[in-house]
């Protein structure tokens, strides 16, 4: 490697480090040898580290990176695995294809930060296949930061299979800065005794467009799931939420809980869909769209906050 490319690379690393920090990431973790991590800027892998029990394979493509991440059978990974996907320049296309496998009885927490701090026209596509083996457990925390221009188009698509006794908990957060255009589509199939919880929290502003579709099929006996989404919208932002839970097996239990608050000229639509074809399964749902609770606002005003400060505290609480 020439001195010049080394220099460019270290410049890239510095940029992505600050982008990662802007998204709320802990940059020290990216340089810690005890922590598995992967840093991708555009279509380049800037750094990768794997620890015992974690196998990380990556392949750079023209517009992105193919990743295969495997947690070996029986391994309980002590530190969360950190992933950083970033596009630092104003424009670019990033396509991430991820194949994730948690082998039988393994357990891991993934912390992913997707950061596009300067985006004016950035497209980030993620296609993920996740396989959570028998009695394995995955906690997947994904936090996005799209900067303040609203120029990001993000479409994460995921298919997740949770085998018998497996656990899948995901937490998708996009509450700082603008959203841009989000098209979120997750599909989960749960086998016997599997447990799934999907939480999404999004704060849309200005002209942001948000589309969230989450589907969980409770295919196995005693499989359980919760879809919880919290969306706040201001100005001219709009959202469309579809939460589908299907109960196909005895003692399958699912719940969809969608709460949205809107202000100004924002528009929200929530469609909880519940399909049950097994008489011993039970799926429930609740959806509420409304403005911020008046009593909550007035209570905080009676403690000395201005109305807009009060609304802010309430919305941030809901999205915390």
């Amino acid at each position: 490697m020439t001195v010049k490319t080394l220099k460019v690379l270290s410049e890239d690393l510095k940029n992505i480090d600050s982008a990662y920090a802007a998204a709320g990431g802990n940059t020290a973790a990216l340089h810690d040898h005890e922590v598995s991590s992967l840093v991708i800027s555009g279509s380049k892998v800037l750094s990768a580290n794997q620890t015992e029990g974690v196998v990380l394979e990556k392949e750079e493509q023209e517009n992105g990176v193919n990743i295969k991440l495997t947690i070996k059978k029986g391994y309980k990974i002590p530190n969360p695995v950190h992933l950083c996907f970033g596009v630092v320049p104003e424009d670019g296309l990033q396509q991430i294809n991820m194949d994730f496998v948690a082998e039988e009885a393994s357990s891991v927490e993934l912390i992913a930060h997707c950061t596009f701090p300067n985006a004016v026209k950035v497209i980030h596509k993620m296609e993920a296949k996740m396989h959570i083996g028998k009695n394995a457990s995955l906690i997947y925390n994904e936090t996005h930061f799209h900067g303040s221009y609203g120029g990001v188009q993000v479409s994460p698509k995921s298919f997740i299979k949770v085998e018998e006794g497996g656990r899948y908990l995901s937490n998708f957060t996009l509450v700082e800065g603008r959203v841009g255009c989000l098209d979120f589509d997750y599909d989960v199939a749960a086998e016997k005794d599997a447990l799934c919880e999907m939480i999404t929290k999004v704060y849309g502003k200005a002209e942001d467009r948000i589309k969230i579709k989450e589907r969980i099929s409770l295919n196995g006996e005693n499989s359980r799931s919760v879809i919880k989404s919290r969306i706040a919208l201001t100005e001219k932002a709009s959202s469309e939420f579809i939460g589908i839970t299907e109960g196909h097996a005895p003692q399958a239990r699912g719940h969809v809980d969608c709460m949205e608050v809107i202000q100004d000229e924002a528009k929200a639509e929530a469609v909880p869909i519940v399909r049950v074809d097994n008489p011993l399964a039970k799926v429930t749902h609740e959806a509420a769209i409304g403005c911020v609770d008046k009593k909550e606002v007035e209570t905080l005003m009676a403690r000395g906050l201005e109305e807009d400060e009060a609304v802010d505290v309430i919305v941030k609480g809901m999205l915390a």
Partner: protein
């Protein structure tokens, strides 16, 4: 310090406050008693300046200043605050965050203030400080947190709407102690109550009936008057239940 002159207020075309006249002195604990539907909560909301509770007639003076057209926030900045009969639930907000909002002096040691307030309402701080206000708190715990949030504000006028409801009998004494603590911190307290124990622990009391203050004075006398004269009054909703 607080002086209400002929407050009249309607809601949805129905006259609810029919001309309230009331005076509360500096550092005075003043209880408001009266039957269900008398207009006590409505008076509290009108004093705080809630939306939809703008009086058609009358004035609210606080330390000589006319508050009638001020916003809730402006009133709060003058030291007036309100604890609701049914406190709001705040999803995602921790007790710490909630109580911190009331602390007006940013130089204060926040954590210490919050711990102190929780101890005063007899909630173990280490057990409650990180819990969510909106989640899994019992009604009584939630009411105590509400009182703690009033304490951290160090108000000049605390309006407490039935701080005793949903609180077990044993804890009634604590509520009295708390009200006295507010007074010791320099507040006047306007407390709406159905409990004799609280009314009689106050400096003065007023009886509300059909949207107006019928009579003010010594709390024992006022509460006796309420029992003797109002309960037999056939217009009172509650009288049927209370006499049986």
């Amino acid at each position: 310090m607080l002086c209400l002159k002929n407050l009249i207020l309607s809601r949805d075309g129905k006259k609810i406050l029919t001309g309230v006249n009331l005076e509360v002195g500096d550092g005075e604990i003043h209880s408001i008693i009266g039957s269900n539907g008398a207009g006590k909560s409505t008076l509290a909301y009108t004093l705080m300046g809630l939306q939809g509770y703008e009086p058609e007639e009358g004035k609210i003076f606080f330390n000589g200043e006319d508050l009638t057209s001020l916003s809730i926030t402006e009133r709060a900045k003058r030291g007036i605050t309100l604890a609701w009969q049914e406190p709001a639930r705040f999803e995602g907000l921790t007790v710490r965050d909630y109580l911190a909002i009331g602390v007006q002096d940013p130089d204060k040691n926040l954590e210490k203030e919050i711990w102190g307030a929780l101890e005063q309402v007899d909630l173990k701080p280490e057990k409650y400080i990180d819990r969510e206000v909106g989640e899994a708190l019992s009604g009584g715990e939630r009411k105590r947190i509400e009182l703690a949030s009033i304490l951290t504000m160090k108000p000049k006028l605390a309006i407490l709407d039935e701080p005793d409801s949903g609180i077990d009998v044993v804890s009634l004494k604590e509520i009295v102690t708390l009200i006295q603590a507010l007074k010791e911190n320099g507040a006047s307290v306007l407390v709406i109550t159905h409990r004799k124990e609280i009314a009689e622990a106050s400096d003065r009391a007023s009886l509300m009936c059909e949207g107006a203050v019928l009579r003010s004075g010594n709390p024992k006398e006022i509460s006796q008057f309420f029992i003797n004269r109002c309960i037999p009054c056939d217009n009172r909703l509650y009288s049927l239940e209370d006499r049986s």
